[in-house]
Amino acid sequence: MIRKMLTELDEWLVEKNRRITLHVIGGYALELKNIQRGFQTEDIDSILHINEQDIIEKIQSIGKIHGNQQWFDFGASSLTVPSGYEKRLEKISDYENIDLFVLSNSDIIKMKVAAYHSRRERGIYRDLEDLKHLSPTKEEISEAIKFYYEEYSKDLTGKFKLEFEKEVAELKTELLGIFK
């Protein structure tokens, strides 16, 4: 469905001689990489904002036609993405006027590790499931843990930083136990 909706958007962009760039993160990035997850996601999380009102309106109208008005997440830019990710992006060349890029596996793993730790307290384990589909190596897990600690401990001080450090160490042990 999402593919079809993107095709419709692409056709409209071609007709209007317009062009957009998407940096896709989240579940749809895995689908674009043909990583089988057992089911398909319903929305696209893109890091880059789209500011042109007519394009936003077109995206919304496509969503309305297909009964999926939340198919495009414009707010994904608030997520912490590993620095320098742009250099590691992978191009997906299915569309004429949509420059579609997905994060590299190592960057997705970093974001999934962070998401898993911050969301599992609320009982959300889908990030771990996605990690299992990505089959990260020990090194990738260690890199992801490093990224998570460095990015998310920046604003912490004193005992909060120590607590976080302990939690991250436990997370590392847990994940290295899963991804041997």
């Binding site: 997850r37 307290e121 009982g123 771990l128």
Partner: protein, 219 residues
């Protein structure tokens, strides 16, 4: 019913999952779907969560009698997962409600708890699931809008649930929903496909449908 068919039905019954091809769908038996959900709940964490959200949102509209009838006829289901979903439904609605009657006493006699999805260990367990011998992550339904379709969508696309939401009896609701998908079908066919007696279908039809111009074929 395999997982793919189940997910197609889940999509049709208001779960926000993306299906690759838009197929023209047929009537779906809600109670059968619910029982099949106890089979497919273990297929993945996401599927499990979607099923929990569905039970949380629409479980109150299920017919206890029809679930019981299906079980008596040998419909496949997993008792421990059925119990857990009933707990989710009951907690949201009526702790002493009729869903209690569906609780299955024998749940396999396994020692300890079984994981809702194999291969996962959960840090914080959900007490409802724990109480029925299943280890599952805590269920906090704070992603409802992301997971389940709203009333507007349900009213346009899902007569099976929508008629029940209107307070129509499960039997009449099912007959109406069935006829929404079938053009000029005989009452015999309706009775057969919905596992109802002809007399019951006929009575409901004469009383509630025919006076409003809803017709069936004579064959």
């Amino acid at each position: 019913m395999n997982l793919e068919e189940f997910l197609d039905n889940a999509h049709s019954l208001g779960i926000k999952i993306n299906r690759s091809a838009e197929k023209r769908r047929d009537y779906i038996d809600l109670e059968s779907f619910f029982l099949y959900s106890t089979i497919h709940i273990s297929s993945s964490i996401r599927v499990a969560r979607y099923i929990e959200y569905w039970a949380f949102s629409f479980g109150k509209y299920l017919s206890v009698k029809r679930i019981n009838d299906h079980i008596k006829k040998g419909h496949p289901y997993k008792p421990e997962f059925l119990n857990g979903l009933l707990k989710i439904i009951d907690e949201n609605f009526d702790k002493s409600g009729p869903m209690k009657n569906l609780f299955q006493k024998k749940t396999g006699g396994t020692k300890g708890s079984i994981p809702i999805v194999p291969g996962f260990e959960f840090k914080k367990l959900d007490p409802k699931w724990e109480s029925v011998g299943v280890s599952a992550p805590i269920f906090i339904p704070d992603e409802l809008a992301k997971t389940i379709q709203g009333l507007d969508w349900i009213s346009k696309n899902c007569p099976e649930i929508y008629y029940r939401m209107q307070g129509i009896s499960p039997v009449l609701s099912d007959i109406r929903a069935y006829m929404f998908f079938k053009n000029k079908v005989s009452l015999y066919r309706v009775a057969k496909d919905l596992s109802l007696t002809y007399a019951c279908v006929h009575q409901n039809y004469k009383k509630y449908l025919e006076p409003f111009g809803i017709n069936v074929s004579n064959s």
